[in-house]
Amino acid sequence: MDRRLFVKLTGLGALGLAARPALDLFAAAEIPAHSPLAQRRWAMVMDLRKCQEAGDCEVCIAACHQAHNVPKMDRPDEEIKWVWKESFHHTFHDQEHPYLDEQLRHGPVLVTCNHCENPPCVRVCPTQATWKRDDGIVMMDWHRCIGCRYCIVGCPYGSRSFNWQDPRKHLAEPHKDFPTRTKGVVEKCTLCEERLTRNQLPACVEACPAGALVFGDLGDPDSPVRELLKSRYTLRRKPNLGTQPQVYYIV
């Protein structure tokens, strides 16, 4: 390398260094990769006391099932459920004891898909008809599902339902805002991803009159879910399985 070329290259390198801050300036206009906004991680906190004090309230269930054309099956063993009430015994049977507060023990617990951090349903699905999105939603592609029901077998929470027969016959008034499903596919809660894109809260959260359901972004340290998780002690279902459910319960 002769001296002339050396000087040229050095100059070019120096120009590059000088240009970097300018480039950074442009980059700053976009959302930095590590900001809470880019790290959206949806979660739900359910306040059981508030929920149970509302009595037989099933507004959230009705809102969800209405919004998503969830059919009402005649046979209980073929029920399709996105969000529903279970007994404390069936929800938290590993954390139950006879001296638990009566209201808590006998009151219902609202359950739905936990949108696990490590979803076993996603692991077992042979066609990626169910998968975890970057924002944590465990999504379903009803066009792709082959109906093998392995995800139902793999889910530790009973959150998934199968269409044993044509669901349309069991819908009083199906509406056009959301597709129905067809027989032979699995379905479950999608955390209202279709509403989230329109900046709306999940239907159940919006409908709850008691404010028992709080939805938000775990990536944002100031979000209401983060506030609640910091200030209150919360339970998760079957935490020992390592699935990391993103539905938290205040008891």
Partner: protein
């Protein structure tokens, strides 16, 4: 003449009949006439033209719908911008069927004539007209 000549010919005849069975049944039953679809029966403000030109849509609407489906369901991307800069929601129910609101004359007519049965309407609620004029599910 081979020893099993008769059996072989008999077998071949049965094979030919079976293979050409669809042709015969179509001849007997008759096929639906191939008519042009009725494009739209109502004016939607701001939506005077389709997302792509008619020629493309005639030939490739299934590809576009498949692409939309993958993009919306799998990537969560709903907004669609046409080449000339118009914005649409990637949605069969909310965009396509909003203008093309008569499924029987827009979708079914050709599909029936060509004997294709896409499974869109197994889940998506199209707009079919019943005899009493109300839209209903199949």
């Amino acid at each position: 003449m081979p020893p099993d000549f008769r059996k072989i010919v008999f077998g071949l005849v049965i094979f030919l009949i079976l293979v050409t069975l669809p042709l015969w049944t179509n001849l007997l039953r008759g096929t639906a006439p191939l008519e042009d679809p009725e494009i739209s029966t109502r004016d939607v403000p701001g939506k005077d033209r389709c997302v792509r030109e008619a020629e493309y849509m005639k030939a490739n609407h299934m590809d576009l719908l498949n692409e939309w489906r993958e993009t919306v369901v799998r990537d969560g991307e709903r907004g669609f911008v046409t080449v000339d800069g118009r914005h649409f929601d990637r949605s069969l129910d909310r965009t396509c069927m909003d203008c093309h609101n008569k499924q029987e004359v827009f979708c079914d007519r050709c599909h029936n004539a060509l004997a294709v049965s896409p499974y869109c309407w197994d889940c998506h609620i199209g707009a079919r007209e019943t005899k009493d004029g109300s839209t209903a599910l199949r």
